[in-house]
């Protein structure tokens, strides 16, 4: 019982005054808005098919699978998007990468994304460690059968080809094979991912990539751009 008392907050209903009880001020306020729209000449209706909406830059539409600089699919089939997906709309079958892809162990043999089941939350994009899957601005998705909207790897790559030059859908990042940490050529000086006590021996060594004791700042070697 005591626990419940703690978690409950009692709110008193505010006292209603005389004018409020007559409802006249509320009615007048409402009529004022109506009159404003009646006399104003400003158009608020969008003539949709002729006039396309101006979508915000973070709009989440149809997905695309990005290609890397050699035009291969960027996806490494880690299936983190499928894990993150709350609608379970992504199905990936992985396979060992072809022999002439020396920088990869694994690639997606098939990649299926059910655009009808998808809720366009963007979690796949966020989960992707290589920025292979992105949501574009394409919103007018239509099809005549369910199969048409079951997007395969080829279809998703096509979306990329269509949208790669669209300024509204920039290829947002240029990350490497497995995220920034895997690029050994330009390994950035790393800040601590976890908190390190200032008494930690490592925190007292004045080499790059170590937090300065007490401040928590990263001494940047300049490699991270």
């Amino acid at each position: 019982m005591a626990k419940r008392e703690k978690s409950v907050m009692y709110v008193e209903e505010p006292e209603i005054g005389f004018w409020e009880a007559t409802f006249v001020p509320a009615i007048v306020e409402g009529l004022r808005t109506t009159m404003k729209h009646l006399v104003s000449r400003e158009t608020v209706t969008e003539q949709y098919p002729e006039q396309k909406p101006d979508l915000p830059l973070h709009y989440r539409g149809v997905h695309r699978l990005n290609r890397d600089e050699k035009d291969r699919v960027k996806c490494v089939a880690c299936m983190l998007c499928a894990t993150a997906c709350p609608a379970h709309c992504i199905t990936i079958e992985a396979a060992p990468a072809p022999k002439d892809w020396p920088d990869r162990d694994k690639f997606p043999q098939t990649f299926e994304l059910d655009e009808l089941r998808c809720i366009y939350c963007g979690m796949c994009e966020e989960a992707c460690p290589v920025d292979a899957i992105e949501l574009t601005h394409i919103y007018d998705l239509t099809g005549q059968t369910r199969d048409e909207l079951l997007y395969t790897k080829d279809k998703l790559l096509n979306v990329f080809d269509k949208t790669r030059d669209n300024p509204r859908d920039p290829v947002r990042t240029g990350r490497g094979v497995l995220g920034p940490a895997s690029e050994f050529q330009a390994l950035p000086t790393l800040g601590p991912a976890t908190q390190v006590a200032t008494s930690d021996r490592s925190a007292k060594i004045g080499t790059a990539g170590v937090i300065e004791s007490g401040t928590g700042n990263v001494t940047d070697g300049g490699a991270r751009s």
């Binding site: 490494v76 089939a77 880690c78 299936m79 983190l80 894990t83 992985a94 396979a95 060992p96 990869r104 162990d105 694994k106 460690p129 290589v130 497995l178 995220g179 940490a181 895997s182 050994f184 050529q185 390994l187 000086t189 790393l190 800040g191 601590p192 991912a193 976890t194 390190v196 008494s199 930690d200 021996r201 490592s202 080499t207 790059a208 990539g209 170590v210 070697g221």
Partner: protein, 556 residues
């Protein structure tokens, strides 16, 4: 009782127990991380992950600590040993060790099969520093093209714990793997022309704490965090290895050994590990059938079971001893009990027999030396008897009949036309009856077959009861040494087939749903040799049915 102090917490150890610091700490619920130490392998203390502070409590109460950190895996404990694993000194040592182990380890967790069950991930998360100070390029070694039929080696992920090397030297004895080069250039490799193809090779994948050794069979099939596992028992031979069945969405992906000192130890053989593929065979019997003159006339369970029951009753009415039931050594004890008690209730003179138990020539003992000779002490045995539960089924039959009618005798009687109805239970995926043996039942009026794969006798069947494999059933298997272990249901039976215990429960007209514990307590009451089945320990490592007997299954 000797007492050890682990982080100021007293732990009592048995006076005859020989434990190291890691095991003693585990008794206190304290984890000491380790890579190279494995309870079944020799100690090398090479990974330095288990460094702890160790000291001694003198009789006068003073504690004298050793000045340096010592590897916990290599330090035995005795009465008065003091282990400290949570001091700043130890934590710093762990951070340094992990940073060192990760120097050349690629950050390819997203594409690594081990991610999710990787000790490097777990320990980095729990004890690691969280960042690296390495400024140079990582030393990435090329993957090996081929080191075995079932395993792959991602050389760059290896942390050189040498568990696999010690496994092939000490458990399989074949010693295919070794370490080449020194220092930063160290690699695991095979001797040229000697790939790791011994019968225990799959175990090196399990004991690899990182993703360096992967199973080709499982490679890239699933992310491990999608798998759901159920504890079970391998049905491949009468050793009865404790296993975990990993499945997702009714598809089995792999079997892994579950450490069980009573059964097999820590390992399992490749025959069992990769021998489950028949579970998803396209030839599976998936619908029950009632056949007349070779044509199916009914395909629903109600009709088929009712008519099978009626046919058995009719045969019983024509005289005593006109029914035979051939139980399978692949059945669980419960299934055998349900079937035997049902048949005996209809006809007390019915013949109970046990089907063909496939056997190879000899038990296969490991380790073996280069010339294939067994080296004592034996650490792992693949039994010649390729059925999981002959002992359990036989004890049930012995309860009813005193002795077990041999299969050949049943066949002879069937050929003579003694039986009007037979109930045959299959279960051996590699075939349990030959064409010639099947002919014995060509003249029998009612042939009820409970099986999940087609067999030669299917053409004489009047009733086909499509049943389940070991991953779809639950019950008890009794191994060669009398160890009873539970198998658990991990996936559903395909299409319209049903798990055996449910078929037999419905056939014997019991009410409600199958309930294993009810059947087990029934068996324990009736059969003296199986009275241990109600022991709650059954759900864990299993129980020895004959308490006084030595646990003959202990090997590793």
């Amino acid at each position: 009782m000797p007492t050890v102090l682990v982080n100021n917490q007293p732990v009592e150890i048995g006076s005859d127990e020989r434990l190291n610091c890691i095991q003693a700490a585990a008794k206190a619920g304290v984890e000491i991380p380790a890579y190279c130490w494995h309870p079944s392998l020799s100690v090398v203390a090479s990974c330095r992950m288990c460094l702890v502070e160790v000291g001694d409590k003198k009789p006068d109460g003073t504690v004298q600590m050793q000045p340096k950190l010592v590897p916990g895996c290599q330090t035995p404990v005795k009465d008065g040993t003091v282990i400290i694993s949570d001091s700043q000194k130890v934590q710093e040592a762990r951070k340094a060790t992990l940073e060192y182990l990760l120097l050349n380890h690629p950050l390819d967790c997203p594409t690594c099969d081990q991610a999710g069950e990787c000790y490097l991930q777990d320990y980095s998360f729990r004890y690691g520093r969280g960042y690296s100070r390495l400024q140079e390029e990582k030393n990435i070694k090329p993957d090996k093209d081929y080191i075995g039929d079932q395993i792959t080696l991602f050389t760059d992920r290896c942390i050189m714990c040498t568990r696999c090397v010690r496994f092939t030297r000490e458990i399989s004895g074949s010693a295919e793997l070794h370490v080449v080069s020194r220092g930063s250039h160290e690699e695991i490799d095979i001797f040229p022309g000697h790939p790791v193809n011994n019968k225990l090779a799959g175990n090196v994948v399990d004991i690899c704490p990182v993703g360096a050794l992967c199973s080709k069979d499982f490679l890239y099939q699933q992310r491990v965090w999608w798998l759901k596992s159920a504890d079970s028992v391998c049905p491949g031979c009468s050793t009865g290895c404790s296993i975990k069945v990993d499945q997702n969405e009714d598809q089995v992906f792999r079997l892994q050994p579950r450490p069980n000192p009573l059964a097999q130890g820590h390992f399992m053989c490749d025959e069992g590990r990769f021998g489950w593929k028949y579970v998803h065979s396209e030839n599976r019997l998936t619908t029950p059938e009632h056949r007349s003159n070779g044509q199916a006339i009914a395909r629903d369970w109600d009709t088929v079971l009712t008519s099978a029951r009626a046919a058995l009753r009719k045969a019983a009415q024509s005289g005593p001893g006109r029914i035979a039931a051939v139980l399978s050594p692949w059945m669980t004890v419960e299934e055998a009990w349900l079937l035997a008690s049902f048949v005996k209730a209809i006809d007390p003179k019915a013949t109970l027999s046990i089907g063909n138990t496939r056997t190879t020539a000899l038990d296969d003992h490991y380790p073996k030396d280069v010339k294939g000779r067994v080296v004592e002490p034996v650490k792992f045995t693949i039994r010649a008897e390729k059925a999981p539960n002959r002992r359990g089924v036989e004890s049930v039959i012995q309860h009813f009949d005193g002795d077990v009618t041999p299969f050949d005798e049943t066949l002879r009687l069937a050929t003579e036309g003694r039986f009007k109805a037979v109930y045959l239970v299959g279960g051996d995926p590699e075939g349990w009856i030959s064409d010639l043996q099947a002919e014995a039942f060509s003249a029998t009026d009612t042939v009820i077959i409970q099986d999940f794969l087609p067999s030669p006798v299917l053409k004489h069947a009047t009733h086909v009861l499509a049943s389940g494999t070991f991953v779809e059933r639950e019950g008890v298997f009794v191994n060669h040494g009398g160890l009873a272990q539970l198998i658990r249901k991990s996936i559903r039976t395909p299409n319209d087939s049903r798990p055996d215990q449910r078929i037999l429960w419905d056939l014997s007209e019991r009410r409600g749903l199958y309930h294993g514990e009810t059947v087990r307590s029934e068996i324990a009451m009736a059969v003296d040799s199986l009275r241990e089945l109600t022991n709650p320990l059954l759900a864990e490592n299993g129980v020895m049915l004959n308490r006084s007997a030595e646990p003959a299954g202990v090997t590793a």
